[in-house]
């Protein structure tokens, strides 16, 4: 079943063509990776899907319904959650408070919201940090908090924007494992990631953006072999990651 369809989506900022004619389908239960060099337009594409701004042109379809131009909170209620590349925790609050806010998307009772929040924190191995103020978290934990908060809304589709950046190699492996388990529980993932090892291991399919254009799409192994991809991107970075 197609969960998310992007048809010729473009986003321009004045003269900057951040995304140009991008098309992609994400099937329910898939993990799709989105890679590309800095400034390729990956986060911009996520922002279009998540309703931060509407695409300049093109169609975005979620569960058979056109959604381009809808507001972020409406999309969240439809089942699309996202993390922010530049994390945005409610810094003065505890981790539990942050995640409880997310859980309130699908319940109105505080006790129930806190129960769900704690369950999510357990999934992400963060329960012992529940009462730590978000401002005092390490960058790795802030990334995890982003995921926890988004998960607490009980999404069907989760957009992850570079959540592994700043994680140590063992933590990356752990995160890959967590995401796999969440997928098995029925959540579909669309993942921007710079850490090649992680995105190659995780993704069922990968799309490659370069200067706003999709230059390749396919299985991880295919993409890794693609000449244009190697030239545009992997050539500089693959070895380093």
């Amino acid at each position: 079943m197609r969960l998310l369809e992007l048809h010729r989506v473009s986003k321009h900022f004045g003269g900057i063509r951040a995304v140009e004619d991008f098309s992609l389908e994400v099937q329910a239960g898939e993990i799709v990776g989105l890679i590309g060099p800095n400034g390729a337009g990956k986060s911009t594409l996520f922002n279009c899907v998540a309703g931060v701004f509407p695409p300049t042109s093109g169609e975005i379809v979620f569960q058979g319904k056109r959604i381009e131009g809808r507001k972020p909170w409406e999309l969240c209620r439809l089942g699309i959650a996202r993390t922010f590349q530049i994390v945005k925790p409610f810094a003065s609050r505890t981790v539990l408070y942050n995640v409880t806010v997310g859980a309130f998307a699908t319940t109105s009772r505080l006790a129930e919201a806190e129960r769900r929040a704690l369950a999510v924190l357990r999934t992400l191995h963060m329960e012992e940090k529940a009462h730590v103020r978000a401002a005092n978290l390490t960058i790795a934990d802030r990334k995890r908090l982003e995921i926890a908060r988004a998960l607490a809304t009980r999404p069907r589709l989760l957009l992850l924007d570079e959540v592994m950046a700043g994680l140590r190699p063992t933590e990356v492996d752990e995160m890959v494992e967590v995401i796999r388990r969440l997928r098995d529980s029925g959540i579909t993932f669309f993942v921007i990631e710079h850490i090649m090892r992680a995105v190659m291991a995780l993704s069922d399919r990968i799309a490659v953006l370069h200067f706003g254009h999709k230059i390749a799409e396919g299985l991880p192994a295919e993409v890794a072999r693609d000449d244009r991809v190697i030239k545009a991107y992997l050539g500089e970075d693959y070895g380093a990651a």
Binding site: F90, T100, H131
Partner: protein, 346 residues
């Protein structure tokens, strides 16, 4: 902008009575105070203290939780005062009913102000609310009548003390006023407490701190701010009626002036906005300063209290940006822990 600072643990089986005992004691003390304080002057000062604690608690619902800085809440005080007074003078309506009607008008006005202004950021929002409240005051000052209603422009309205009694919200003594405003304050604090532990409170605080993140979590931030504004303006308005019935004389400068809006904001910021204790603490510390400066320097240096507040605010913002409630709450929790060894704290 930071909202509240209350770090809370999930509901757990702590000794309930112990948690509430200090609050109950405080409440009993407040209710017993008029038995000890017999001087009308001191009672008057206490009533104003409670009134400002109430006003600031009402303000805090939007100014604290929603992370914006409204500086025009005097408008709602004025609407409340004028609505009940006009209706009782011209139509003999009980001020209690006028109080509710005034509250409803303030709610509508509050939402109408919020609709365009909640999209503004920081200082722009504050300026817009000042402009609105001042505009309203100048209008009332220049209106002798508004349709069938007599407003009397700058001369204001005198309430003749003819019928005394609870139904008319008018008393010869000060004590009844004390108990009414204390009850109103307890209710407002109760509402704040309930909000802070509800979906509305969590989502308001989230939207005030990181609007973009809050929206991505399903929160329509602007809509929640309007709801907070509606509750806040309704409650604020009730105080206007109370004030009118307490002083029996209202004019635009007394119930709609910018001083009121500023004093509320000062009390909230110095006490600690977004917390439940902040407004109470702020009023407790600042009201005496106001009264003292008005009694002793009212003629020579009017407005001295605002200058003092300004200096205090600068110091507090420098050293305790979350307001004085934070260090005091911490002390209190530590004291409780020492005394009872409970798991209280966060």
């Amino acid at each position: 902008m930071n909202a509240s600072t209350v770090t809370r643990q999930p509901a757990s089986g702590r000794p309930v009575l112990l948690r509430w005992a200090p609050l109950l004691l405080l409440l009993a003390f407040a209710f017993a105070l008029p038995l000890v304080v017999r001087s009308a002057t001191y009672l008057h000062i206490l009533i104003l203290l409670l009134l400002y604690a109430y006003l600031t608690t009402s303000w805090n619902l939007v100014g604290g939780f929603a992370g914006v800085l409204p500086l025009g809440h005097a408008a709602f005080v004025g609407i409340g005062a004028y609505t009940s007074t006009v209706l009782s003078l011209q139509y003999g309506l009980s001020p209690w009913i006028g109080m509710i009607l005034g509250g409803m008008i303030s709610t509508i006005v509050g939402v109408l102000i919020g609709l365009p202004t909640f999209k503004m950021r920081g200082a722009y929002f504050a300026l817009a609310t000042i402009a609105f409240a001042e505009g309203l005051r100048v209008m009332v000052e220049n209106l002798d009548r508004l349709g069938p209603f007599r407003l009397n422009g700058p001369r204001g309205l005198q309430i003749p003390p003819l019928e005394v009694g609870f139904g008319r919200l008018m008393f010869a003594e000060k004590e009844p006023y004390y108990y009414i405003i204390l009850t109103m304050l307890v209710l407002a604090v109760g509402i704040t407490w309930a909000v802070s532990r509800s979906k509305l409170g969590y989502c308001l605080a989230a939207g005030g701190e990181e609007p973009e993140a809050a929206q991505s979590l399903g929160i329509n931030v602007a809509r929640l701010k309007l709801i907070a504004m509606a509750i806040s303006s309704f409650l604020t308005s009730l105080a206007g009626t109370f004030w009118a019935q307490f002083t029996l004389y209202i004019h635009p400068k007394s119930v709609m002036s910018l001083d009121i809006s500023f004093e509320i904001a000062f009390i909230a910021l110095i006490g600690g906005r977004g917390s439940i204790a902040g407004p109470l603490l702020g009023a407790l510390l600042l009201r005496p300063v106001s009264d003292f400066s008005r009694i002793h320097f009212g003629d020579t240096l009017p407005g001295l209290h605002l200058v003092i507040f300004g200096v205090v605010l600068i110091l507090v913002m420098l050293y305790q940006p979350r307001g004085l409630q934070e260090p005091l709450t911490r002390l209190y929790r530590r004291g409780m822990q020492r005394l009872f060894g409970t798991g209280e704290g966060g």
